[in-house]
Symmetry: C2
Subunit: 185 residues, 2 copies
């Protein structure tokens, strides 16, 4: 079950390493970007992880929705890993505009392992196709949710956002993100 | 089968992206480090990927063998991936000393997904333990070998080095790497 291993890999090789540093990185970012602490709500100082059911991943969020703009990257986090010295881990900060034209900052990205699921479903030699892919995305989501709920290093530092298939709404993504941001504040 | 998915992930999310740029990165590195092109043999301008059967991975190769020294990193390669802008991909260059005290440069690292296999075997809730781990490492190696042999983007740009369990030889790792480097030259 590919999704099971990818969820564990995402936790053990990424989330467990980066989430403990997230709060500090955001504080450093606010200082260098002259953002008084109140303009970035406490509830949104989490890593928002987008999980689209169709595994259709975009490399730039603004390509998906005009109400989303790339702002800047958080400071780099360098870790020696498996022989690579100072491997760089970073996150991108986006600005999301709501329907009242108010702007909200947040750290958001797609769950990278879904790219592997998508690409594997396109490679005939990888052993699974498009019909199984949706099942694998759901298994990835549930396994990851379960792992993260039991993780002390990660608790309260992330939000998993399961995205249903894109509808015709051009602001589908910004609305989904805002709904989760407002839930916290 | 966790190893199957991790091998595909390693290829689709990493090797397929970085190997086509390797030759250029090494050339740029030689220019900035005043290494005339002949001091770095043609056969060793590949990414050497270490795959220890016991999945015991070190974060700094010089910790494993005194005849290995970290030299410097290749130039960064920045790619927009799944919402992370300018995600950094880099490799480390090491200097390996042979028994005649001659130094050889090479780009070498451990296969990072083995860290996931190792960590999963330690977490009781992940579903597999130490006895299955060796089998999974072998499956990872064979799956990866198979994928890479059929890959146009990667051919001749890598070398997989399967490492048997560490023996008492303190220069086990440098000798294993040198054996593969000399095979090419
Ligand atoms: N968003 C995001 N940013 C990151 O910096 C990052 N680093 C890892 N991951 C994801 O976490 C999981 C565990 O990573 P691991 O390093 O064990 O495997 C990685 C690793 O073996 C290799 N790889 C990827 N990027 C690098 C890199 N920069 N240097 C060395 N190896 C790399 O290829 C595998 C798959 O990578 P991704 O398919 O990008 O997703 C990974 C993976 O799902 C990341 N996800």
């Amino acid at each position: 079950n590919v999704a099971h291993g990818l969820a564990w890999s995402f936790y053990l090789g990424y989330l467990r390493l980066v989430l403990p540093h997230l709060e500090q990185s955001i504080a450093a970012f606010c200082a260098t970007h002259q953002l008084n602490n109140t303009s970035w709500g406490r509830g949104s100082r989490k890593l928002l992880i987008l999980i689209p059911l169709n595994a259709n991943i975009s490399h730039k969020l603004e390509d998906e929705d005009e109400n989303i703009q790339f702002y800047d990257n958080l400071p780099n986090n360098e870790i020696d890993r498996a022989g690579v010295r100072g491997r760089v881990y970073k996150h991108s900060v986006y600005r999301i505009m709501d329907e009242n034209r108010k702007v909200h900052e947040c750290v958001v990205e797609y769950a990278t392992p879904l790219l592997t699921l998508y690409n594997m479903s396109q490679e005939s030699s990888a052993g699974f196709g498009e019909p199984e892919r949706r099942q694998q995305v759901l298994l990835f989501f549930r396994t990851l949710q379960d792992i993260l709920e039991h993780s002390l290093e990660c608790r309260n530092r992330y939000k998993l956002i399961l995205l249903n298939d894109e509808q015709d709404d051009p602001h589908f993504l910004s609305k989904a993100i805002l709904r989760h941001l407002e839930q916290q504040e």
